[in-house]
């Protein structure tokens, strides 16, 4: 699987656009899901997905094949999500407080109270902790892979992941009690 990606990347660099289309086909849904889990906003998640792919394509020459290609592109997605969150942090907080969520395609899911609470709890986590929790849960990556994607030492990954889980548990308990 990973070798296939490397072949596709080589083909892209030779000018074969079809190969990049194959890469997009292979990963765009997963990248969207990751973006959505991080941002909990459908439109933003699509935008992040698009930007991540464009940046990946533009930086294809700098891709180091010792890493898995999808780890590399997830790393770009995470970086883009972080930038996005920083830019929109203030607005998002206001939106979430007052929004009626009418445009949110997540609406049906939101009606299930527990699931809604879980989503809210994830969003209440600081991005620092949300990222390792979401990535670990979605992809079941090793600490080493997470370290590469998040660009922090393995020790930091563990610390943030463990703290993130604990915080999530505490938030959920609080919500259940309320």
């Amino acid at each position: 699987m990973n070798d296939d990606d490397k072949i596709l990347v080589k083909e892209c660099l030779k000018g074969n656009k079809k190969s990049f289309e194959e890469i997009v086909e292979k990963y765009y849904k997963t990248i969207f899901r990751l973006s959505f889990r991080i941002t909990r906003d459908y439109d933003n998640a699509e935008e992040i997905t698009q930007i991540a792919f464009v940046k990946a394509y533009e930086n294809l020459e700098s891709y180091n094949s010792k890493y898995k290609f999808f780890s590399w592109i997830y790393r770009m997605t995470v970086n883009e999500a972080i930038n996005f969150s920083k830019r929109n942090d203030r607005n998002q907080r206001i939106d979430e407080k007052y929004s009626t969520d009418e445009r949110n395609p997540d609406k049906i899911f939101e009606k299930v109270e527990l699931k809604g609470k879980v989503q809210e709890a994830v969003m209440e986590l600081d991005l620092l902790y949300r990222l390792p929790v979401v990535l670990k849960h979605l992809f079941d990556y090793s600490y080493q892979e997470l370290s590469y994607i998040l660009d922090v030492p393995e020790k930091t990954v563990k610390s943030r992941l463990f703290t993130g889980r604990q915080l999530l548990k505490d938030i959920l308990i609080k919500k259940e009690f309320n």
Partner: protein, 251 residues
Amino acid sequence: MEFIDKKYVELINKEIDHIITPDEKEKLDIYLSDNKAAQDYYNGLLKANDYLSQLPDQEPSENLKKQIINSIDSSRYSPKTKKQNSWGPLFAPKFKFAYTFAAGLILGIIIYAMLINNSNTVNINDVYGTIGISNGANTIAELPLKFSDISGKIDIKSAGKNFWFNLDLNSTNKFDVVISYPEGVKFENFRLGIAKNIEVSKGQSFIKITNSGPQQFSMLFSQVSLAPTTVKIEILQAGNILYEHDQLINE
């Protein structure tokens, strides 16, 4: 609240991540059985993890993939660019005259070879306009083209079991025209009008013409029967499809 040893916090997380060793698991079980706070902590984390698993995945919109592909600068890794980079020193101004002369010579040889080849292979009177079969010919489609640096038109005509493509195209850069056809269709012949630097390759179900500059040529096909059939025409540059069209014949 009882204190939870940091070492066991790590083991609990390792257990959740399914990377705990049997030895560690044994130690953890002993610790948990003896520590209510650690048990609650462990169960709470498991529950939170379980809740996360229940979150449904969202699907992106159907056109997201298209949007991504359209937003990519497809010329970025064109073979031409790479070639220029790696052979850059050879394009120094001092070699300009020598290259121009060599290119002219090669071009002359190619055109000469093609003219000879053309007179040997073309065995129909005139595909481009007034060939014998053109009496009663129907124009099936007229396709004006303008994209990238390619402009011109493709006319598709038919008469009985024969149909042909008249291509009148111009482009600064090299491009490919590929016509793919299904079983029951046979490529008959190729007719040059104005054409230079042209390369023709043929597979079992396609014919590909690579060329640049002003080009006029025709390609004649025949069908086994008069049943409707679809022929695909694609125009590519640097491996990228710039244009594709499915043409129904004998509608």
